[in-house]
């Protein structure tokens, strides 16, 4: 077992760190407060090739491995989770889904612009009444012969207003339940698509989240991904990959909170000494460090298994569950270590605390991950 990153992985990690520290960190508090989309930083991520970085170069991607991609998300999330989620949805769900299950026409037309970073991708699965229970899709995709007619509402869509391509999951044959579900590539400017207002979120406020309404939206038949009825399986496969991205993001959030707490604890004095010298604080830091190290091993292993083309669904569920939960625990303690300063925005940890919460909820709640994990281990 080799725990050493390659030279190239270290370079990629440093590139993401530089972008996050030198650029994104400068206006992250302001963007969070105003819920402003990070146009400038998204442009820089495009220039640096982070969008589409794992796509095969023959489809204009960067051809990087999953571990490199995890390192990028982790570094970004230490300072700005909004950048990480924009990237994660684009790469893990939209690009990966089309690359692995789309046909050559779809890859040529839709994957290539996404891999070049020219068009951002979004993934439309959740609905007002179908979150964790994704089998109950109310959005209908009626088969009209040479096209599908989509009607319904999708919720909590990351990059809804900034994406150009939507991967839409919708029900074609309700009587077949999840086996009647299809996945489609839908161009955002297709007539009949309207957006709900920008969601006023607790955290990751700089990312762009809306509901999306479909009213008699015509989608060409050739935009269906895979065979008729493949949509649910497609979505679940994409989420297996998505979980690695969100785990990496959660890990980054935890690390961002930990490194700030470590610095603060060595500087802040109480009762005549730096608070790091008080066991109450030192032990908190020790526990944070252990959790982060464990989380890192899980998410790096998930990415490595994926790179080795070995099954990674179980380990990615474990990584997502664990990283998200420890991100919440670590950020909670980080606010506590900072005391009053942790409760104001300048010290960043209150923002990381708010951001951590979402990692336990989206792309499969911690409870759903436990279902995935328990089913897998019990069926062995």
């Amino acid at each position: 077992m080799n725990f050493e990153l390659t030279e190239e992985q270290k370079l990629i990690q440093q590139a993401a760190r530089d972008l996050a520290e030198r650029e994104a960190l400068l206006d992250v508090i302001e963007r969070d407060e105003k819920a402003e989309y990070p146009y400038k930083h998204v442009q820089r991520m495009k220039e640096l090739g982070f969008f589409g970085m794992t796509v095969d170069p023959k489809y204009d991607g960067g051809g990087m491995d999953s571990l490199s991609y995890v390192l990028v998300l982790e570094e970004l999330a230490k300072h700005d989770s909004s950048l990480a989620v924009i990237l994660s949805v684009h790469n893990s769900l939209a690009c990966w889904g089309v690359e692995n299950f789309g046909n050559e026409y779809q890859k040529e037309k839709y994957l290539k612009p996404m891999a070049r970073g020219e068009v951002i991708g979004a993934f439309l699965l959740s609905e007002p009444e179908a979150g964790s229970d994704a089998t109950h899709q109310k959005t209908l995709a009626e088969d009209m012969g040479d096209y599908y007619l989509i009607n319904g509402v999708k919720n909590w869509i990351t990059s809804a207003s900034t994406a150009g391509y939507y991967i839409v999951i919708a029900q074609t044959k309700p009587e077949l339940r999840h086996k009647g579900i299809n996945a489609f590539i839908v161009e955002k400017d297709t007539p009949g698509i309207t957006l709900g207002p920008h969601e006023n979120k607790m955290g990751m406020r700089s990312s762009d989240t809306h509901s999306v309404m479909f009213t008699n939206v015509k989608v060409p038949k050739e935009n269906r991904i895979g065979e008729d009825g493949f949509g649910f399986k497609f979505a679940m496969k994409c989420l297996e990959v998505g979980r690695i991205g969100i785990a990496a993001q959660a890990l980054g959030i935890a690390e961002g909170a930990y490194m700030r707490s470590l610095k603060y604890a060595k500087e802040r004095k109480a009762f005549g000494t730096e608070i790091a010298n008080h066991q109450a604080i030192a032990f908190k830091l020790a526990d944070m460090a252990v959790k982060i190290e464990t989380a890192k091993l899980l998410v790096y292993k998930a990415a490595t298994l994926k790179d080795m083309h070995q099954p990674f669904g179980l380990i990615s569920a474990m990584a997502k569950r664990y990283c998200a939960d420890i991100a919440m625990e670590v950020t909670t303690e980080a606010v506590q270590i900072h005391g009053g300063y942790g409760y104001v925005k300048e010290y960043h940890v209150e923002r990381l605390f708010r951001e951590a919460k979402l990692t336990q909820i989206y792309e499969g709640t911690s409870e759903i991950q436990r279902i995935v994990i328990s089913r897998a281990i019990l069926s062995e």
Partner: protein
């Protein structure tokens, strides 16, 4: 026109410096290594010149005197856009030895513009650039804050006391660059990192020159003493401390 950028491999600027217990060596355990920040700015300016002079500059090479461990640093230089890299396989013992090794290489590989950072951020020697020019018998310009190439002429601005000096310097030359030469170093793109995979680092056997200096001992600065704040209106307390406690008066 060909540009050579000399790069040093230095500890990350946030490194907590430690020495071995006998004080004879720098303790490199766990240290992250980076391109010397001044050299990285020199490389950034070289890239800018290449991009803005319409094909005038056909090659940017980076050169490093170091062991194989420095290759990650060299690879970064290639991923931000250097065309070629040379590593002279020797431990960089002192400024003279480094300058000598590079000068030896340049005898058979001429360049028009040679850039060095004003100093390395670890040993702060500030000597390689000048020595190198002397060994090559070519002009060297220090404290360079701007380099422009206009109609094939190299125009250099250097910082002088109370102002700036503009020079037109014949090539080949060594420019020792400092703050202002470029805004900030570039972050390598995925495309650049991918392209660097196929760029070869040319490893050159050293001339094995003897250094002119030797390090005897390293010491960390004395830790700061405890600071006692005395409010400005408590003169008696100040006198008491100075007289009784630290016996300074």
């Amino acid at each position: 026109m060909k540009i050579l950028v000399c790069i040093s491999n230095v500890p990350d600027t946030t490194t907590k410096i430690k020495f071995t217990s006998d004080g004879s060596q720098f303790d490199a355990t766990g240290v992250q290594w980076i391109i010397n920040p001044w050299d990285e700015l020199a490389l950034t300016r070289a890239m800018e010149l290449k991009e803005t002079t319409g094909g005038l500059i056909d090659n940017i090479t980076v050169i490093n005197v170091g062991t194989k461990d420095t290759e990650i640093t060299i690879r970064k230089a290639l991923s931000v856009g250097a065309d070629h890299a040379v590593r002279i396989d020797a431990v960089p013992t002192d400024a003279y030895a480094v300058a000598y090794e590079i000068a030896k290489y340049l005898e058979s590989h001429p360049f028009d513009l040679i850039l060095t950072g004003i100093e390395s951020s670890d040993y702060n020697g500030n000597a390689v650039g000048g020595m190198l020019a002397e060994m090559l018998n070519i002009p060297s310009v220090s404290s360079v804050s701007s380099i422009e190439i206009v109609d094939g002429q190299v125009l250099i601005t250097r910082e002088i006391d109370g102002g700036k000096q503009l020079l037109n310097v014949p090539t080949p030359l060594v420019a020792v660059v400092q703050k202002g030469i470029a805004k900030e170093p570039r972050i390598p793109s995925m495309r650049g990192i991918m392209a660097a995979r196929t760029k070869v680092i040319e490893v050159v056997s050293p001339a094995n020159v003897q250094p002119l200096t030797d390090y005897i001992h390293f010491d960390l600065p004395q830790p700061k003493g405890k600071c006692k704040m005395i409010p400005a209106d408590q003169i008696d307390e100040l006198i008491h401390v100075l007289h009784q406690e630290i016996k300074a008066i």
